[in-house]
């Protein structure tokens, strides 16, 4: 087990299984098909992302450097949260980008209820992304501590 420390972007404690993207996550390409066609597991539809393509994202600990691509990214994340198809948490190795940051803030300010929550930690460092692998158990604790085992 190894622990990493980052910045709390959206608070919350959770345990979930890791899915890892080593490249930037294209939010629109990853989530659109799943949200549009009723896939509750939010299977990643981004064929340009070999790490995540065809993997379930809903309920997982999504580990990534940053998000990239369309500026619909934030509202797609907002929709995923509103529809209860969001990852259990998002863990960024780098400082969060403006699109994902917007989605997280929008969900936190405008949505209500337990099923829309999505803890987010950023700035976990490059070592975090090198260490974490698909299927590892991730636990977020208070204060931005992320345990990986």
């Amino acid at each position: 087990m190894k622990a990493f420390n980052g910045r709390v972007v959206a608070p919350g404690c959770v345990t979930a299984e890791a899915v890892v993207s080593h490249g930037g996550l294209n939010t629109l390409a990853s989530f659109q098909k799943a949200l549009q066609f009723g896939d509750k597991k939010a299977t990643c539809g981004d064929q340009n992302n070999p790490d995540l393509y065809n993997k379930e994202l809903a309920g997982k600990a999504l580990c990534l450097p940053q998000t990239i691509g369309s500026t619909t990214g934030g509202l797609v994340l907002y929709c995923a949260c509103a529809m209860g198809r969001q990852p259990a948490c998002m863990l960024f190795s780098q400082p969060i980008d403006s699109l994902a940051g917007a989605g997280v803030i929008l969900a936190d300010v405008w949505l209500e209820g337990d099923n829309v929550a999505m803890p987010v930690i950023d700035s976990l460092g490059e070592e975090f992304l090198s260490y974490v692998k698909d299927g590892m158990k991730i636990t977020i604790k208070d204060g931005g501590i992320v345990e990986v085992e």
Partner: protein, 424 residues
Amino acid sequence: MILTEEQKAILEGSKGEVMAKVMETVIRYGELFGAEKLVPVTSKYNHLVTSFGLKMMTPVFDLMQKLIDAGVVSEQKFSADPRPLDPNVPKNFLQNLIFNKFMYSKQDFYEDQLQKLGLMDKDAFSCACYLDEMGNKPEMGDVLSWAESSAVVYANSVLGARCNRNSGIIDIMGSIVGYVPAFGLVTDEGRKATWIVEVKTSKKPEAQLLGSAIGMKVMEDVPYVKGLDTWLGTELDDAACAYLKDFGAATASNGAVGLYHIDNLTPEAKAQGEALIAEGAKVYVIDDAELQRVYDNYPVIWKNPDAKPKLCFMGCPHMSLEQLKSWTDKVEAALKENGNKKVVIPTVFTAAPKVIEAFEKTEYAARLRATGVIVSYICPLMYMNNPLCGKMPVITSSNKLRTYTTARYYTDDEILVQITGGKK
């Protein structure tokens, strides 16, 4: 964040609960990125990325309705991204059914919401809102609350406006409160280049391929590009602007670039030169071999890589008037050379409604129609984003369309050969 008395009052509810939440959203968004203050939005118009009545966006429509019901709308009118539907674009019975009855069943409802929120006019739908015909062209130094990655990177780089890569919804919220947080590309420091890109190609590089290479390398950083003025000149004429439009869209979609500087060409590079380059900037050299490497590494995700293309899309982002004209000449000449009268693959050129209107007034429109090419205001990306179209072998020279869909990328010259039936 340090707020003015007016901003504090809004946050505390002086203009109602919904407006307070809008202000809270903008402030918290800024605080996340270390903004210490809000700065006024100064552009005449705003631009929104969300133009599509996709059923999956119901949570967004609900939020927009909250704003409308509370009378919380912007004093700025706005343009929006292209419409996702156009009856002129080829589609089969099943696609038609899915588009109209399932995917975009909320289109009319959402366009009605946009009208209530301040849409400039019924034709204000284009990702290239900054083209002269569309009338939403910011001035140098204007502070914007725009979204749409290709429009933001163009406004920042070619027009010298100041805008972060805002997400949809944040775009309208900044406009409503009239302020955006001062961080990133809104600040002088955030506009410094942390990459030097040296273009050393033997011919003019394909705009969308060069943009793709740079985007994938620098991601969200700001590149200062040297050597491109050799091919584009030192004046922002129509051809240079069209090139930079396509180049920028590729940097923004293949990476996350919000601003680039082109040595001796873009306004800030012309005014400040290499003073724009931050200390310790990394260097990326692009030659013919590097462009070929990038091209060869694009995944081919068609089920049958040798399938005959069923559709060709050009114009993501939307084509300019100059591009429509020059492509008319190119298609005509290539058809003649290849002994054909009409394009051999159904081909759609996309452009803004008002650019199409201007194009229709020229003699080029009838000539292009005669080649069989369809001109449409549609968003090809939204057309392609469904399982039915995803299975279609579609070709494009748009690296943005390649990134977000199953469309296969070819250079402009390769596209021209394919659609005109050359090199059999």
